[in-house]
């Protein structure tokens, strides 16, 4: 993360300020007005916002196009997620140059979920590169101005390069070795998988502090009891703590819709404010990545509460 800041996200992380990022997941649509509205709501509270690339292998609108339009329409900087699942190295390279031309500054480079998990399981899984190789490719583009074969790029783009990590992984030693590989390949910053167990976040941040790379911890305020249940059933390794589940279950019984929503907000604020304050107080975490897609209203409240 050396040199002058090339993006607001980079500037924020460089300054050492606790940095918030958000996440948008445009789906099977050619109209982004809903996501533009959501981005406007969280602008000013998050420094930048991820735009997902066919998450869980569901065939959605192009993340490059969505990243560009959302950034252009709202002025909120996007973090363009790019995976290796659907494109070979030629297509990935070409999209990266395209992203540069469109003014995309931040990238999150991921391997991508397997095709068989999504809504088009018959698709050919490409995986011509893995995440480490993708990070290295982007690093070469940015630092050396060349493609993977050393061919010069006439006018190379600048990117702030992000990578994923999972503090919940078991065996964790293996995840730490992979983390190291991503650092050496050229990752500027990390955003992690959702963490509920703060001890796991603390341990991960302790083990990785020697690399001196900003790590943004993923959190997921839960819009409803149903969302929490979905998490427990469908996201292995991520468990919503029992005390939080109990509170959400109780809120779920409230009949009045407005009161129910207020209660959900109150529970999330209480829980995640404490979580963030604890992170700030006891760890070198660079910030929090608030991944609650469709629950944008909590973000301003939460960010204000930990100021």
């Amino acid at each position: 993360m050396s040199g002058a800041a090339i993006s607001e996200l980079m500037a924020s992380l460089k300054s050492g300020k606790f940095t918030f990022t958000g996440e948008l997941e445009p789906g099977k649509t050619a109209n982004l007005s809903r996501h533009i509205e959501a981005a406007k709501k969280i602008k000013g509270y998050v420094v930048a916002c991820n735009v997902t690339d066919n998450p869980q292998s569901f065939a959605y609108i192009s993340s490059l196009v969505a990243s560009y339009i959302i950034q252009r329409e709202t002025g909120l900087e996007t973090i363009y997620q790019i995976t290796c699942r659907d494109r070979n190295r030629i297509a990935v390279f070409s999209d990266l140059l395209g992203a540069g031309a469109l003014g995309i500054k931040n990238i999150l480079a991921l391997t991508g979920d397997h095709t068989t998990l999504g809504d088009t399981p018959q698709a050919k899984p490409v995986f011509d590169l893995d995440s480490v190789q993708l990070i290295k490719m982007i690093r070469q583009i940015v630092n050396e101005g060349v493609d993977m074969n050393g061919n010069p790029i006439e006018s190379p783009p600048k990117f702030f390069i992000g990578a994923g990590a999972n503090p919940n992984a078991n065996p964790i030693e293996l995840e730490l070795l992979k983390f190291e590989k991503k650092v050496y390949a050229g990752a500027d910053f990390f955003q992690t998988q959702v963490v509920f167990d703060i001890e796991k976040a603390k341990n991960f941040l302790k083990e990785t502090s020697k690399y001196n790379v900003p790590i943004i911890i993923g959190i997921f305020p839960l819009k409803s009891y149903g969302v929490a249940e979905y998490f427990n059933k469908n996201v292995p390794g991520v468990k919503v703590p029992e005390d939080l589940m109990a509170l959400l279950a109780k809120a779920n019984e409230i009949a009045d819709k407005k009161m129910k929503r207020a209660k959900y907000n109150e529970i999330n604020l209480e829980y995640f404010s404490n979580f963030i304050k604890e992170l700030k107080r006891t760890t070198p975490a660079a910030g929090c990545h608030i991944m609650s897609v469709g629950y944008e209203e909590i973000i301003p409240l939460l960010v204000e509460s930990v100021k």
């Binding site: 190295r89 068989t116 590169l129 893995d130 995440s131 999972n166 293996l174």
Partner: protein, 220 residues
């Protein structure tokens, strides 16, 4: 071992629809061992074909149908019978079918699906272990192949779809190849091999075109 599976009879009969007189070739090596195209299976298949109202002109188990020399040798005496048949039903792997196509003039129908290059734990339990990718990296991965055993063919460690050592593909039942590799390299004291960066594979040397190997004779 090339592991094969018999196609459903209905599919086989459908392919054989235009033909009346059928000659059957089995395989004396892989398909015999895997019990998909050996003597017993050829006998049973001949019965089924007959029961469907067709004539079986003859059967033979070629020792190795994928070896053109052996195929020619073993079928030589049966040339007339084969000539008088309308089609050949091949109870061999895909390589066998294509060798038969090249050396015998009749339409050749595959009776098996060629699944993979694998190991036999016991009959009825086969595991894919080699993708025949062309450039073996087993030394770097503790003898466990991530090309074939990781659904994403990851080269630099596990992806985010690993949970408790298991793989997201197939619902967390199969071991994550990279956890196996990690444990193996750790046991061998060779973890440095894991830590080293593995560049993307050179697909121009791998599977973009049919691969040939032609030995060049050197005069000494």
């Amino acid at each position: 071992m090339i592991v094969t599976e018999q196609k459903p009879l209905e599919e086989i009969l459908n392919m054989l629809k235009p033909f009346k007189r059928v000659f059957i070739i089995g395989c004396g090596k892989c398909a015999t061992i895997v019990q998909t195209g050996g003597e017993e299976q050829v006998k049973q298949m001949a019965e089924k074909i007959k029961n469907s109202g067709k004539e079986v002109t003859g059967t033979i188990i070629v020792e190795t149908p994928c070896d053109a020399r052996i195929l020619r040798r073993d079928t030589r005496a049966l040339r007339d019978v084969i000539e008088s048949s309308d089609a050949i039903l091949c109870m061999t792997c895909g390589a066998g079918v294509q060798d038969i196509v090249e050396h015998l003039s009749k339409p050749s129908i595959p009776a098996l699906n060629t699944k993979f290059l694998g190991i036999i734990e016991r009959i009825g339990e086969f595991y894919e272990r080699c993708r025949a990718c062309g450039e073996c990296i087993l030394y770097e991965t503790g003898g466990i192949c991530p090309i074939v055993r990781c659904p994403k063919g990851m080269l630099n460690g596990p992806c985010g779809g690993m949970y408790d050592g298991k793989c997201e593909v197939g619902g967390y039942k199969r071991e994550c190849a990279w956890v196996l590799i990690y444990k193996r390299l750790k046991d061998l004291g060779m973890l440095d091999l894991f830590k080293s960066y593995k560049p993307p594979r050179d697909n121009s040397k791998l599977n973009v075109e049919p691969r040939d190997i032609i030995w060049v004779k050197t005069i000494t």
